[in-house]
């Protein structure tokens, strides 16, 4: 009777002790686990920081590229705008060809004009000669008529005179 009470007390003490040991073991394990989780989290945290920094750099790069692309687009649009205006004007080769052909026509026509003018001059001179010869002939004929009139008058006076 006495010993069973003691024994049961002893058993109870042993069980409490073992429970305490068990819970302490558990707590130690949990503590280990927490420490390792903390390390893990630290690692992940550092990795994320690195990737954030990397993303920042990529963003800065992309911004520079966007500015560059905008500059290129602006240049292209300026080029297009000027090209549109230039297209309105006709092609240079065609204009040169037209200019050449027009020049040739002009020369040809001026040649014709010169020859026509020469002909005109010649005809004018010939007419002038003709007219002056006609005038001279007229003059000579008039002179002849006058002379013959004077001769006739002289003859008639000579005819009346020598009959005294």
């Amino acid at each position: 009777m006495y010993t069973t009470a003691l024994y049961s007390q002893y058993q109870r003490m042993l069980s409490t002790l073992s429970q305490c040991e068990f819970s302490m073991g558990k707590t130690l394990l949990v503590y280990d686990m927490n420490l390792r989780e903390m390390e893990n989290y630290e690692k992940i945290y550092k990795e994320i920081e690195c990737s954030i920094a990397g993303a920042h750099e990529k963003i800065a790069e992309c911004k520079k590229q966007i500015l560059q692309a905008k500059r290129i687009r602006k240049n292209r649009q300026e080029y297009d705008a000027l090209a549109k205006v230039i297209q309105h004007h006709p092609d240079r080769h065609e204009t040169l060809k037209e200019l050449e052909s027009l020049g040739k026509e002009l020369e040809h026509l001026s040649h014709i004009k010169e020859s026509v003018e020469d002909k005109l001059e010649l005809r004018r001179k010939q007419f002038h000669v003709l007219l002056s010869t006609i005038h001279e002939l007229q003059q000579t004929l008039e002179n002849d008529e006058k002379l013959s009139e004077v001769e006739e008058a002289q003859e008639s006076t000579m005819e009346t005179d020598p009959k005294p």
């Binding site: 500015l67 905008k70 500059r71 687009r73 602006k74 649009q77 300026e78 297009d80 705008a81 000027l82 549109k84 205006v85």
Partner: protein
């Protein structure tokens, strides 16, 4: 015998007056401080208000941050134009140009540093100054306005060095062509004239209204806004908004906008313009309308891009016009909020 106290307190004379003033206000000009954190706006009553952009853009912005930090009476007439050097704010309107120190401007009762009046031909009528332009290479300021001349003033000595004559009617706007030191001026007579600063002579004249593609006779021939990018120039107003190639003086692209535009500027690969409509228009150089962002004023008169390197977080576009509000666009796509006088 006791009079019942009315629940609604009647508005005093002062408040009614201020409300009326705000209703009829027009903001003509804006200028950003050299540190990039403040914006000055000048209105038709001659007042200049300084807004703190950094406070309004910060994450703890409250309603008071959208009000000016300080407002003072700068001129007797409207403040038509303002520019900033690295230490001064220069404002002009009723024939005089005044300078204020940015460092002192936030204190109450700020006085102007100096005031100058260009030599006008007649002393009877003082013509207004519509546009100011800084020429950093020679440290001088160009003023243009009602007397149809461009006056150059040296900023160090305050002396007026040249008077460029050629316009037959008053001048609306000025622009600087960086590479060759040339100034472009556009005015009511419908011509954009290029002046060489070294020889003080007119080198080129473009009469915009004579070109059929862009002239709109029903609007008039006045040139309201000018911007240049060395080889290219964009101008608008009475005639349609057009992009010109300066060397050949040919109009290359016409932007299909019916309303006359009052302010235009080049930004990266876009052209931003604002005028009689409510919106800020963004155009590509090919003539396409990329975006139209509505603002809060019924008509816009000035745009300002804060590109100061010292404050990249305050890099915003601000637009102001026929109301007491200055719209702030943080991203060119939408209006973030408005500052108000």
């Amino acid at each position: 015998m006791e009079r019942a106290v009315p629940h609604a307190v009647p508005l005093g004379q002062m408040e009614v007056f201020q409300a009326l003033q705000r209703l009829h206000m027009t903001i003509f000009s804006q200028s950003v401080s050299p540190c990039g954190k403040f914006l000055a706006a000048g209105n038709n009553y001659g007042q200049i208000a300084i807004f703190s952009l950094s406070a309004a853009l910060s994450s703890e912005a409250k309603e008071e941050s959208k009000k000016p930090v300080v407002t003072f009476q700068a001129h007797d007439g409207p403040v038509y134009s303002m520019v900033s050097t690295d230490r001064h704010l220069l404002s002009a309107g009723d024939g005089e140009v005044k300078a204020w120190l940015w460092a002192e401007i936030l204190k109450k009762g700020c006085k102007e540093l100096w005031r100058r009046q260009p030599p006008y031909r007649t002393s009877l009528e003082v013509p207004e100054i519509n546009a100011l332009l800084l020429v950093p290479k020679e440290n001088s300021l160009i003023l243009a306005g009602g007397d149809c001349q461009l006056h150059t003033m040296d900023l160090e000595t305050g002396a007026f060095t040249r008077a460029l004559r050629g316009h037959t009617d008053y001048i609306h706007c000025l622009a600087l062509r960086e590479r060759s030191p040339e100034v472009l001026s556009g005015g009511e007579d419908g011509a954009v004239r290029l002046w060489d600063l070294r020889t003080a002579k007119e080198v080129q004249t473009i009469e915009v209204y004579k070109h059929e593609e862009c002239s709109r006779p029903h609007n008039g021939r006045w040139i309201g806004c000018l911007a240049t990018d060395s080889d290219w120039m964009v101008c608008g107003g009475g005639p349609a908004l057009t992009l010109w190639h300066l060397r050949s003086s040919t109009p290359t692209t016409i932007f299909p906008m019916r309303a006359p535009q009052k302010h235009v500027t080049f930004y990266q690969d876009l052209i931003l313009s604002a005028g009689q409509g409510r919106c800020v228009n963004q155009w590509q150089l090919s003539g396409e309308l990329k975006a139209q962002v509505p603002g809060s004023s019924p008509g816009l008169l000035s745009l300002s891009l804060n590109q100061q390197p010292a404050a990249p977080e305050c890099k915003v576009l601000t637009a102001a016009g026929n109301s007491c509000r200055v719209d702030v666009f943080t991203n060119l796509g939408y209006r973030a909020f408005s500052l108000s006088f």
